[in-house]
């Protein structure tokens, strides 16, 4: 079995062994959703108007959840040493970890998002674009988040530090995704922003493993 699939399978097993994989992130998503009407006041029109953007934003935030565990657990118990010294490059292991993060956290969120929008009274016709943007943007969030997770290894600040590092970097995918959702709803060109989002996500997936591996090696030194 190749090194890549070894790491991938292990990441999947660990995500679900820790108690339900994506359930924590989904739980966060749903909790925020239930708070929004309370925070916003009950006007259904306002809620419906805000729903798609809100779902998209909370998806981005929920993607930050469990980022801490991407490298930290391996770092703490010594597995990262083993992974770094193995025959497969650390960049590839980082890629596998981020891909697993996408598959176990952000992709499930993307599938839940349309229900959230519907629950808040938003247009149900938006579900294809929300899912598409969520899946694509989720890829960007997972890989960018991985950079934050790797950079904050060994520091005590953990989760909040990762958020501070990573949220400014989330700006382009958030903008492109929101633009795509809005354009779709208004009947305008939604393909362009979605393509930009995809391009950004693919670039992030291709380049961030190098930053993640460099940061991980730095933490191990």
């Amino acid at each position: 079995m190749s090194g890549f699939s070894l790491i991938l399978r292990r990441e999947f097993a660990l995500a679900f062994a820790g108690g339900g994989g994506p359930l924590v992130a989904i739980g966060f998503f749903l909790a925020m959703t239930s708070l929004l009407p309370l925070a916003l006041g009950g006007s259904p029109e306002r809620l419906a108007g805000v729903a798609p953007g809100f779902a998209w934003l909370v998806l981005a935030l929920a993607a930050l959840i469990s980022l801490e565990r991407m490298f930290e657990r391996d770092y703490e118990d010594g597995s990262l040493d083993l992974i770094a010294l193995g025959p497969a490059p650390l960049e590839m292991a980082a890629f596998a970890k981020a891909l697993a993060q996408w598959a176990t956290t952000t992709a499930p969120l993307a599938l839940v998002a349309p229900f959230v929008v519907a629950a808040l009274g938003g247009k149900t016709a938006l579900w294809p674009i929300i899912t598409a943007a969520g899946l694509t943007g989720g890829l960007a969030f997972a890989f960018l988040g991985g950079i934050g997770a790797a950079l904050s290894l060994g520091s005590r600040r953990g989760g909040i530090l990762i958020a501070v590092i990573v949220l400014p970097l989330f700006t382009p995918p958030v903008i492109f995704g929101a633009g795509a959702i809005e354009a779709f709803g208004a009947g305008l060109d939604w393909k362009t922003p979605l393509l930009f989002l995809a391009a950004y996500a693919l670039a992030a997936a291709a380049l961030s493993p190098f930053a993640m591996a460099a940061a991980a090696r730095n933490a191990l030194s």
Partner: protein, 203 residues
């Protein structure tokens, strides 16, 4: 196959402190050496520097094979094992799964992993989650990859600390076999290894 390890004038800095100055060592096939010294003397840092995780401030580490010098990254990735202080085991996973992952990652197979666990007396524990294993059992589980994925150079950091006398003797047999087959062992240990080894004191 690594046939010789040569460390030339290695200097290691941690923070602003010079931890190791001008360390040299030559280890040949079939030889074992123990690094001793008080805690904080740099034994772990030395092993990690040889493994390429830490960059030395001066000096170099040379790995030689029968056909000449080896590229350091390649030598470590394919021909050396580093067993650190920690076991590298995930508590939530089953012992057998972890042993198989570690072995497979280093080039072994499921079969060799199971055989190695049997050799170290762990067969009955493979279905249990790692968190239910004792310190000695976890240590032996971590050491299993040495047998499951054979490699010439073993860099061991306090390998035997949680093991009792009988288990140490059993591991001694493993070490003897490895050395007899032309392997090299460099270990950091407070207590002597159960095999004949050169002792190097780190000041």
């Amino acid at each position: 196959m690594i046939t010789a390890l040569a460390i030339e004038d290695l200097c290691i800095d941690r923070g602003d402190r010079r931890l190791i100055e001008g360390f040299s060592l030559v280890l040949g096939a079939g030889e074992a050496a123990t690094l001793s010294g008080r805690n904080g003397a740099g034994k772990t840092s030395l092993l990690r520097t040889i493994a390429g995780l830490i960059r030395p401030s001066a000096g170099r580490v040379v790995f030689t094979s029968a056909s000449g010098p080896l590229e350091p990254d390649d030598a470590i990735a394919r021909h050396a094992h580093l067993i650190g202080h920690q076991d590298g085991l995930k508590l939530s996973r089953r012992a057998g799964e972890e042993a198989r992952f570690q072995a497979a990652w280093c080039g072994g197979t499921r079969g060799t992993a199971d055989a190695a666990c049997a050799r170290l007396g762990l067969s009955g524990l493979l279905a249990m989650p790692v968190r239910r294993l004792s310190a000695g059992q976890r240590r032996r589980l971590a050491l299993a990859r040495l047998i499951a994925a054979p490699r010439s150079l073993w860099l061991l950091d306090e390998p035997l600390t949680p093991l009792d006398r009988d288990q140490r003797a059993a591991f001694g047999a493993v070490l003897t076999e490895h050395l007899a087959g032309g392997g090299l062992v460099l270990a950091a240990a407070h207590d002597p290894l159960p095999v004949e080894a050169r002792e190097i004191e780190l000041a």
